[in-house]
């Protein structure tokens, strides 16, 4: 019995046997834009997914579409909830023209503000706290916004030479890690805006960053890149601890809530579960027919949601962290 299921947005027969649904989904979604980002709602009861078509909210775990809405920002690439769960930020823009972030109240989903001024699409957003967020853009800039009245652009971080595609905030709330097409992983002091260091071991553009949950020891950040590696860093001391090379390019990564494993959505449509200590793939699971661009791990379940080509959104069950024998499906 396969363990992944299909979003109801594009397939309208929930009980279809999976082997058939994969084939059907290809035909049914041939002109749908790809899902570019997914995130669980703060209560874990739904999934927010974004694409060129706008934003959709699907119930969890059946992935039935609850609502869809166009955004004032086209070509969405990212979505993130504020720490207090009261706001949702979605970012995108007109490629090579402008980029912005739309803020919505949650759970109402009502647009409340728009933060603009990037010269290219916004590729990543991260909340500093419930009133401040950072946006990273293909225009090579990272912008720090404060939504207190009046809204203001607090700081612009510049040093990336190409598109900034990923952001990651450390628990101290003042150290930011960024990465992107220029292959570098950069560490910033948000209090001063200074670039602390740049780490350059990746040999292709970096697609995503993710902070390992848990306390104790130096913070660890994982980076996924076009060189097919996931690298594990201790950014506060500038050390690359170890890396694992996958069989396919990781496009997006997300840690399990206990920090024991990291899940990667890959360009071959599969997800791979990686043990960060042994740096080996413990599970490989089919997910998307095409490229998988986005993954989110449910905070309390052994399940992930994966988004990708042709508007596909899938649910995949992974093994519990203590049962991590290598398996390929």
């Amino acid at each position: 019995m396969q363990r992944h299921e299909v979003c109801s947005r594009y397939l309208f027969a929930p009980s279809i046997v999976l082997g058939l649904t994969v084939a059907l989904s290809v035909a049914a979604t041939a002109t749908e834009p790809p899902i570019t980002a997914v995130t669980f709602t703060p209560d874990g009861q739904a999934v927010v997914a974004v694409s060129q078509a706008g934003m959709q909210v699907c119930s969890w775990p059946d992935l039935k579409r609850q609502r869809t809405s166009k955004a004032s920002v086209p070509n969405l690439h990212c979505a993130a909830f504020s720490p207090d769960g009261q706001h949702l930020a979605i970012g995108g823009g007109y490629p090579a023209e402008d980029g912005s972030v739309e803020l919505r109240s949650w759970p109402a989903g009502t647009p409340t503000a728009k933060l603009g001024d990037h010269d290219d699409s916004v590729r990543a957003v991260v909340w500093l706290d419930s009133s401040r967020l950072l946006s990273a853009s293909a225009d090579r800039q990272i912008r720090l916004w404060d939504m207190k009245t009046p809204r203001e652009l607090v700081r612009v971080l510049q040093s990336h030479s190409r598109s900034v595609d990923a952001l990651c905030l450390l628990e101290d709330g003042k150290t930011l890690v960024s990465a992107g097409v220029d292959q570098s992983v950069r560490v910033w002091d948000l209090e001063t805006g200074a670039l602390v260091r740049s780490m350059n071991q990746h040999t292709q553009g970096v697609h995503d960053l993710a902070l390992r949950p848990g306390e104790g020891g130096l913070p660890m950040v994982a980076s996924a890149a076009g060189d097919r590696t996931i690298r594990f860093w201790q950014p506060t001391i500038g050390r690359m601890v170890r890396y694992v090379r996958l069989d396919a390019m990781p496009m997006d990564i997300a840690w399990r809530s206990d920090g024991s494993q990291i899940v990667a959505a890959c360009a071959d449509g599969r997800i791979r579960v990686v043990d960060p200590e042994e740096v080996k793939v413990t599970e490989t699971l089919d997910a998307i027919d095409g490229w998988a661009y986005a993954v989110a791990v449910h905070p309390h379940q052994n399940r992930v949601v994966v988004g990708g080509s042709d508007g596909q959104l899938k649910k995949v069950t992974i093994r519990s962290a203590g049962n991590a024998d290598i398996s390929v499906r």
């Binding site: 570019t36 490629p95 090579a96 095409g290 490229w291």
Partner: protein
Amino acid sequence: MKTLLSALALVVGFAAAGVAEEASSRRVDFRNDLIPMFTKNGCNAGACHGAAIGRGGFKLSLYGGDPASDYEAIVRQRQGRRIHLLDPAGSLIYRKPAEYVQHGGGAVFEDQSESARLLLRWIEQGASPVSRRELVDVAITPAKHVSRSLDEPIALRAVAHYADGSTRDVTRWTIFKAEDASAVAVDPASATTRVLRPGRHIVIARYLNTVVPIELVVPLAESTIDLADEAQSNFIDQRVLESLAALGLSPSPVCDDATYLRRVSLDLTGRLPSPQQVRDFLDDDRADKRRVLVDRLLEGEAFQQYWTLQLAKLLRISPPQGDQQAAQAYHRWVADQVKRDASYRQLARTLILASGDTHVVGPANFYRTTTGPREQAEFVSELFMGSRLRCANCHNHPLDRWTQDDYHGLAAVFAKVEQGETVRPKPDGQTIHPRTLEPAAERIPGEFFLADSATDGRQQFADWLTDPANPYFAKAIVNRLWQRMMGRGLVEPVDDFRDTNPATHPVLLDQLAEDFIQHGYRLRRTLRLIANSTTYARSANATAENKDDDRFYSHALRRPLEAEVLADAISDVLGVADRYGDQPVGTRAVTLVSPATASPALDILGRCDRSGACESSSRSAGGLPQKLHLFNGDLLNARIAAEGGRLERLRLEGKRSMEVIQAFYLAALSRPPTNREREHWQTQLNGLGSHHARQAFLEDFVWGLLTCEEFVTNH
């Protein structure tokens, strides 16, 4: 801004509506429609997104050589940001070339252009990667066109043939490019070409991965000529005369005996004939004295020394990491092959399969020539196949059949060889394919992957390479021999064989290769054939009719002497040996093993350091520094009147000044002075009163002789 975009979107919307009829009639095929469109517009050229690292963060395969990766780049990468399925006209892939947004390459096409409509239609149809037809061939017409006059419009046509039997006129998506834009004009809009200058010219037609040469000929003379009565010594002359007749080119007459003697001596032995040899040859009245001469030269020690140098340059023999002992062993082995007139086929096999202690096993040093398997693959392909496989390192070769799989596949074969003082198999050796980031699979270039990667793939490669049916091996070496003897390869550059760089005389090249194979792959056999041909013996003095010919062999080409040959020639003429490092006095430059042997003279004269191919160095040996040094430096000035030299010896023997002049003519130019020259020098001498003045004059005369064009060239 958004208002403008809306207006533009409206315009595009109308455009999209306009193409709806087309859309209903045919689906746009990514591989067969869109890739040629990108190529035609220059998007995937090396100067644009086809560059090895792409441009502006967007990389396409060079000239669409890898459609699958192009599809990923356009549709999949960057989260699909380049394609907007719900708003095709909002797609970045459209807005950039149409310059709705700033584009480094400027405006590539107009809104209503066929390119724009094609692109939008493809996105409207779902931006599918599916190709319904498989291209099997592109027929380009004409393949060859002979015009009697310049500026005649020649219509070009390209028809694609698909596996399902269908055909399609793809002329408008085919790129026609003249190799020499000053000789041939191409009008892309009408797909016509015009020849602007007489001669033989090549236009390259490119459609998808197919590149086809079109040969355009306009005779260099206005009237046709009949060369049936021209002397023919062997098939070489037949083929060359056929070409000359087609071009309306009259050949120069055969050169005189003295010129032939000097030319063939330099080509076969790398040294000037001695004055006595000149006198003997000129006095010889046998009808076949030239053939006898060639046979004698081919059997002599000087031939062995000189052609060992030629092979040493070809094999780039140089002490690896300063290891003189290894280089000596390698050089000795090569010298022995030349001495025995060993089969070049066997020589190649021995080199490819070599292993062992490089201080003992000379050919094992073949694997110490380069620093790694990729460099070895490049070296081997250029050496034995006359092909620049190196162009397929980062992308499929844009003008040839070679793919990245071929390049890295051959490198994988050599990765299983441990390169060091002892060369040995390395079964676990591998090289990474940059596209897959996986170990490359061993491959015979252009042919097949090797089934068992655990075995030494060198054997299979050697078998394939040296098979008589191999299309590269024999042609590559006979072309090099031809270049050494004639001054220009039938294919030039000699390491750039490809369909789009055709031989000037393809049938002759085939025949030379066939003859080479049939006669046991012997270098002497081919050299003898060339040396005995009437074509080889033609005068280097061009006629008014053939003065513009630089490749059809209507006259001999003047060639600068190689650094080593010129250095030895200077020493021979002056009678004063040069010093080469710590080698014994009297060592000839052509016998030096290491190209790094200390020698200011060879440095100035432009010797090849063998870090790369040496084939072009003879054409540019020295250049301006050489000339300045010859004119002003110690290379000549310090040695002309040196003690024990020819000039001093002649003076001590009591030779009269005119006798000295004649002796130097024989030594340097291999001929006596002409009557006119004799009169000139006599007049000069008559104006000199004192003995001292005559001595100074003779020194100046020798200096002038050794710096003149006739001395420093083979002609």
